[in-house]
Structure formats: C-alpha cells, structure tokens
C-alpha cells in the first residue's frame, strides 16, 4: 500500500491493513482466514479499558531528544507529559547524554469546546518555541479538539515560517482506533513527513536503522554489529533530529517488534529504497539466527554473520539445552501485542513449553507489503497450532482463560497485567524489556528466569490465598467469546 506523506492523517490499522481486535479460535484458523481474506473481526458489547493511541504515538516522539510535543486538549490527555518528562530525564542520563525535550498541554476547557481555541494554540506554540528552542515541534490533537474540528494543520502551516524549525501536525484522536499501535504509525508518519530528508548525494554509510523501544541492549548490539561492519542507529528513544533526518541514507532498516517497526520500515523502503529486513524477530534461537541471516542477505554480509553464529552457538546452545530439561512439559498462556505474542509463542515451543492459549492484543492480517506477518507464517509453516484469541487487553477474558486452563505460567508484556494472573495463583513472567529474549544470551537468561519463577511460588500463593477476584462465578462459567458480536 502506498504511504502518502503529503497528508498529515494516517489511516488506522483497521482501515489500512485490516487489523482486528476481536476473535476467538485457533492459530491456524486465524491465519488461514486472513490469508484467504475471509477474516472479519468482532466487536464487543462489553469491554474493559485499554490504551490510547496517543500514548504510543506521542510517547515515541517524546523519546526524541530536544523536541517539543504540544498536546492540544483537556488536561487528561496531556497528563502523559509527567511520565514523558521522567522518561526523558532517566533515559538520557542512562545513555550519558542530555535531553531538553518538553511535552506540554493546553488545558482546554468548556468554553474552548464552544468557541474553539486555535488562537491560544498558536500562542502556545510560539511561546514554547521561545522558551526551549526545540529542534522540532509536534502539535497533536485529542478527541475533543478532533470532534469540534480544530484545524491544527492550518495553525501549523501558519506558524511554520515563524518558528523556523520542522513543525508537524499529529492526529491523535483516541477514538479513531482501538488499536493503540496505530499510534506507532502516527509517530512514524510525522517523522517521515517533516524530519526525514532525501539522502545527501555521495554519502556512503554502514548505518542500519534499528527501531526499538528503550535501547537497553544498545551496547551489546553495537559491539555485535561492529563485527559485521554495521553501525546501528537506534530509534526513537534518545534519537536526535539530525540523526533522524538521515534515516534515508542507511543501508537497511530493522526492528525489534514488527508492530512497532512495520510502518517506518516499509515507508523508507518505498520512498527511499532503504531495504526493510523482513524476518521473524530476534527472540529465541531460530528467531535470532533467521534475523541475522536476513540482515546478512540484505546488506551483503553473510560470511561474517555465519562465522558469528557458529561461535555463539558453541557457547550458548549447550547451556540452553541444559535449562530446557527443567522446562519440559510446562504449560503457558500468554497475552501480548501481536508483535510479541507470536514470536514468544515460538520461543516457548523451542524451549519445550506448551502454549495452551495465546492472546494477541490486536492482529494485523497483513503488513504494509501485503504479506502475512513473518511470525505467523513461521508458526504455520512449522505446523504449530494452539488456541488463540484477539482481545485488546480484555482482562476478564484473560482471567476466564487462566481459570479454565490453570497453566504453569502466564507471560505478559503490559503494565498492570501480571498481578491478575498471580491472584489466580498462576506464576507470571513480565516480559517488559523488549530485549528480554534477544539472541542466545538473553534466551538463556529468559529460560532461567522462567525456572526461577516456577520454582518459588510463595508470592503467588500468599496473595492468591488472601485476595478475592472481582469476577462473578457466572462469568467464569461463560465461554470466552460471550460478548463478541459480529461487526455490522
């Protein structure tokens, strides 16, 4: 699908790539239905709260150093600024750099919903520019400003010359999509629209764009890539506007999570011919090797990469095989974004753990290039199947599943989710850091972490014994799909 950066609006994942948030069935059915085009997601007549796409979109942009985010809306929308401030301080400190990124709100009130407040927005943009001299400015809408029709595009165009730095309108109305990952696309779109420049002539580089969240494995990846004569450019946490402006010059783009990297990767390929590494991700042994080999192929470095794989296998595979003995036969339920659910499922199978149910917070039928996501394709090609559902973090469905299956562990990646599993008496493993299962070394650590989590269940038992779960007996007797209904 062609990516149109001349318009500041990005189509939602639902409309662009047919993503869904409601499905209950099996992995094979989900995949075959999406391949033949018959998959139709369901909606729910009862749902629990999830995540706003603006949290993802503006959270990504706020990770960039020395920029300004202006969130035009009521104070609740821009409350993310408090966490953005904290993240910007601690993440830059961890890396040994500084950032003066600011995230401000406009505290819109009732009068503004009637009379509009574009002139205030204009003043706010100019004042923020004067106070902080940001390297770029992102001006975002909210549900309220979107519905009353505040024309943020015009305001941005109007002040462009005066502010003298890249400025871009970002459309973050939370009601647009139930898939918060649309926010990742929105941030990519903004960066592509105003920050990324065409490649400079004659510039040769060994840089590879690496889309991730919080760059915790940065030092070791730099070290590893050095052996392949590659230099990773991590995005967007701690990126500079200068770095981003040259993304088009890199020799490839790769990412830690397909959900996160898909839009930028495809757009850079489509617009500037920067190849996007399409592969299952780096989780687990097969994932890591497949990804490295794909990089080797795309960048012409296969020999160096094969040598690396051989050396590393010798160190780690015997150790991983040893831990696997303790994991054999355990069962797991997992709930994550689709960029991780189907990758982590593969790793669990690899470690000898049986996946009994996998929940994905949404499901992309196809990526921008028209293909089924690689992680799904891998599972299908290898004849792996299990029960699966798609639910935007619907905790009542998760609890229904955990109650029925009583697995040995629940794996999750989203804040506030693990405590619910342990109150059910199920040990929970929080796969928070995106590099927690990266490569041989972290796969080994991950396996050992599972062993530790299973070994000492004191905390789970203590809490489960003393707490009452909030769901009714009636609900536990229902099928998981009770509240799903076909989209009309």
């Amino acid at each position: 699908m062609a990516i149109n950066t001349s318009n500041s609006n990005v189509a939602t994942r639902e409309n662009r790539i047919g993503s869904i948030t409601g499905y209950v069935g099996t992995l094979k059915d989900l995949a075959s239905q999406s391949e033949c085009g018959t998959l139709k997601g369901c909606s729910r007549c009862f749902s629990q709260s999830s995540t706003c796409l603006s949290t993802c979109g503006l959270g990504q942009l706020a990770g960039i150093r020395d920029v300004a985010i202006i969130h035009h809306g009521p104070a609740g929308c821009s409350v993310a600024s408090a966490n953005a401030y904290y993240m910007s301080k601690v993440m830059s400190k961890k890396r040994g750099v500084t950032s003066s990124t600011v995230y401000v709100g406009t505290d819109m009130n009732e009068n503004d919903t009637i009379f509009g407040s574009t002139s205030t927005l204009r003043d706010v943009i100019l004042e923020v520019n004067k106070r902080y001299s940001p390297k770029a400015i992102f001006v975002s809408s909210s549900c309220a400003t979107g519905i009353i029709g505040e024309d943020i595009d015009s305001i941005v165009d109007d002040v462009r010359e005066e502010v003298g730095v890249p400025i871009v309108a970002v459309h973050c109305e939370g009601f647009k999509s139930r898939i918060w990952a649309t926010g990742f696309d929105i941030s990519d779109h903004a960066v592509l629209q105003e920050i990324v420049q065409p490649p400079r002539e004659g510039v040769k580089t060994n840089k590879i764009n690496f889309k991730n969240f919080f760059e915790s494995a940065r030092p070791e990846i730099i070290e590893m890539f050095k052996q392949f004569d590659l230099e990773p450019v991590f995005l967007y946490c701690n990126s500079t506007i200068e770095e981003l402006s040259h993304l088009s010059e890199s020799i490839a783009t790769t990412c830690i999570c397909g959900t996160l990297g898909n839009y930028l990767g495809n757009a850079l390929e489509e617009q500037y011919g920067v190849p996007y590494v399409r592969s299952i991700n780096q989780c687990g042994i097969t994932g890591f090797e497949t990804w490295l080999r794909e990089i080797g192929k795309v960048t012409g470095r296969s020999d160096k990469i094969e040598k690396y794989i051989e050396e590393q296998r010798a160190i780690y595979i015997p150790q991983i095989e040893e831990v696997k003995k303790e994991l054999k036969g355990l069962t797991a339920v997992l709930g994550m974004g689709p960029g991780y659910t189907f990758e982590v499922s593969r790793v669990l199978e690899e470690l000898g753990i049986k996946v009994v149910w996998a929940l994905a917070w949404h499901y992309d039928k196809k990526y921008e290039d028209g293909n089924v996501p690689p992680s799904m394709k891998y599972l299908l090609d290898n004849d792996i199947d299990f029960e699966a559902s798609v639910a935007d973090q619907q905790n009542y469905e998760v609890m229904n599943i955990l109650n029925k299956y009583q697995p040995d562990m629940y794996l999750s990646r989203h804040p506030g989710s693990t405590v619910w599993a342990i109150k059910n008496g199920t040990p929970a493993i929080y796969v928070a850091d995106e590099y927690m299962i990266f490569g041989y070394k972290h796969t080994l650590e991950f396996a050992k972490t599972i062993v530790d989590a299973i070994k000492n269940r004191s905390f789970e038992e203590n809490l489960a014994k003393r707490t009452k779960l909030p769901y009714t007996d009636w609900w536990y007797k229902q099928n998981v799909d009770t509240f799903l209904e076909e989209v009309k």
Partner: protein, 432 residues
Amino acid sequence: MAKLLDKQRYKCALGAMQSVQAITRALPILHSGPGCAQKLSESIGSSGYFSPNIFPCTSINEKDVVFGGVKKLNSTIENALKVIDADLYVVLTGCIPEIVGDDSGEVVSRFEDADKPVIYAPTAGFKGNNYKGHEQVVDAIVEQYLKKSETKQKGLVNIWADVPYQDLFWLGNLRELEKLISELGLTPNTIFGYNRGIENIDKIPEAEFNLLVSPWVGLNNMKKMERKLGIPYLHYKTLPIGATETSKFLREVGKFAGVAEEKVESVIKEHEDYYYYLIERYADLFLENRVINKQFTVVSDAHYALGITKFLANDLGLVPAKQFVVDDTPKNRREEIAEEFKKLNFGLEAEVSFETDGFKIHEEIKNHDYHGYPLVLGGYYEKEVTESLKGNFLNVSYPVQDKVVLDTSYVGYRGGIRLIEDIYTVAVQRFN
C-alpha cells in the same frame, strides 16, 4: 480558556475515577475513549480489588462519535453488573459523549431497579481538573444515592480530606485523622481506603457533622450535604502537620463537637510530650547541619503548600520563601487561601503564587535568594532545578517518581515526625 500547561500537575475531571476506586468495592464505568483510564492512573499503587485496566469502558470509536454511544453504554452497564462483583457502580462520562450529546443520565436511570446501585457523574475532561472531578463524584453520591436521616449517631463525624491517588499520602492521612478524632472520644467515618466502602457511605447521613480538612476541595460537597442532608460542617483549611497545627486542630474540632476541654488538653499533652522528646533528641541535627538553611519553597496543591508551610515555619522555625499553589484553585477561593499563608508565628507572612505554569515557577525559584542552599518540596519537576541550585529536594506532590509510599502519612504529630525524617534523610546524604 485554554492555556499553556507547562509541567502539568493535575489531570482532568475524569481522573475522579481514582476517587471512585478508593472506595472499596466501588467500580467506575467509563463512557470514554479506550485509553482514558490508563492515562489517568498512576503506574505505582493503582491495582487492588479493581484496577484501571479492568474498569468497564465503552471505548468509544468513530461510529459512536457520529451515531452516539448510548447503546454501548447501556450494554456496558448491563454486563458490568453481571461480570464484575461490586457494591456500587459509578458511571463517569468523558469528553466525547458530552460533546456529541449522549444522554448518559437517562441511560443510567434505566438501572434504578438493578440489584446494586448505579449512579452517574459528568466528568468530561474539559469540565475542569481532577480536583473538581473528585467533588463531582462525592456530589453524585450525595444527590443520587444518599437520603436524609431522621436519626443521628452521637459523636459520629464524617471526615473529608485528600483527593485519593492525586495525593500520595491519602490513605495514611485519612487513617491518622481518624485516629486523632477517635482520641477525642468521637467516632470517625470515612469512605476511602481499606475496609471503608458502601457501609460507610450509608452512615454519612447519620453524622452529627462533616469535618473538611482542605483549603478548598470538597467545600461545595459540604454545602450540598448541609442543604440536602442537614449536616453542618466544620471547615478546617490547614492540613495539620506537626505539633503546633495538630494541637490547634484538636482544640478547634473539640470545641465544635463539644468535647470537654480537659479531655482535649490531655490528648494534646500526651502527644506533645512524645513529640518533643523526639525533637529534643534530634534538635542538634536541625541546628547544626551544613546544608539546610532557613528558607524553603513548596510547590504543590493548596492542601500541602499550606500544611507544609505552616509546619516548617511554626514547628521548625524555617522561613518561607515564595510558595506555589499549582492545583488551578478556583479564582473565588484564592484570596482566603492566600490569607491563611499570612497567619504564621511571629507575624511572618508567606507570599503565595497561584501558578500552573511550571516554567515561570522555576524561573522564580532560580531568581530567589535563599541565602544558601534552597529547600524545595514539590513535584518531580522540581528535582532538576533544585539540584542545579545545589539545594535539597523532596518529592511530596504530583508527579511523584522519587518515592514509594504505601501508607505513610504526613498528618498529625506522627506525620510531622515522618516529614522531618524524609527531609533530613535527604540532607544527611551530603556534607557541604
């Protein structure tokens, strides 16, 4: 009117979902976009019997914006009653339904005969901040759930103080206020926190009076309860921290409630004796350390700005530099609150600025002469600016990133001691 919110210290009215959550077994049902609950919750200490990620939510989409979301609201309430075991269901509306004109009140009224009470509070984000939203929730309980009681329970006092979760110390503070009131021989009643819930709400109309400990938040609720439920109120504006203010507080409450003076004085004496036993032992730390000077600044909501200013000035003999109130206090309340800052020992008066623009606050802090290292108690935003001035910083107000609080309290005699411990724990980590 909209304004530049630089270094934001509050949420929107829908943030009152946290006030509902603080009532044990009360469940917020959000008629809002899918991500409001997550945004408006803290990442630490937000779980419990319910947590924001299990709050039922209509998760309004584009179609609902065009065609209205009442049908979805109806099915969400209906099924919430079936799926989730709560004592009270509180429907809270966000921005979208109020702009597109959903009649949420009508939908809620369809559940009048449900087994459990379902009430409704309009809390669109643009209607005000979460301090106002908190008042809306209490109002909804008073208006839609409570009825006037013909009988009163002798000595029963409803206590209203902090805005739960917005205030890091809300749980501990309420419990400490209860203890103090109990020591006077009265029976406290609060609705927030462990072991408080619908039964305490049911008791509200039987109280002899309402005690509001807050500069302004909740005053509208007191007036409403006076009108509707016939409950008189005592408005004590200063959060009592430390001996001076707590003793004053006990005397005032005792007088209002008709507690014998000897009883009040004996409670005070017992506490002050122990309090000054501790202060005497540690006085040389306060007098002889090299890093805490006399001048301090508090950047907080009116509640803590006033309480801490009085404590540091009247108990510890420090001198207030400018104080900043950042909760967007309603304009008609500002003058009387500013007056309270002028009632300090030895005729001292603290200058106070009602300011929501953090940039301006930081400029003023940087430009003030603290005669040495400044002591700043504020939100996490003040950490960096205080460090750049080589000052001492304590994170006491929103946003909080530097502190984990389970049930600590800054209220009362014990609370004053806790605050001293926290301030001097910062101080002793350095030499000069």
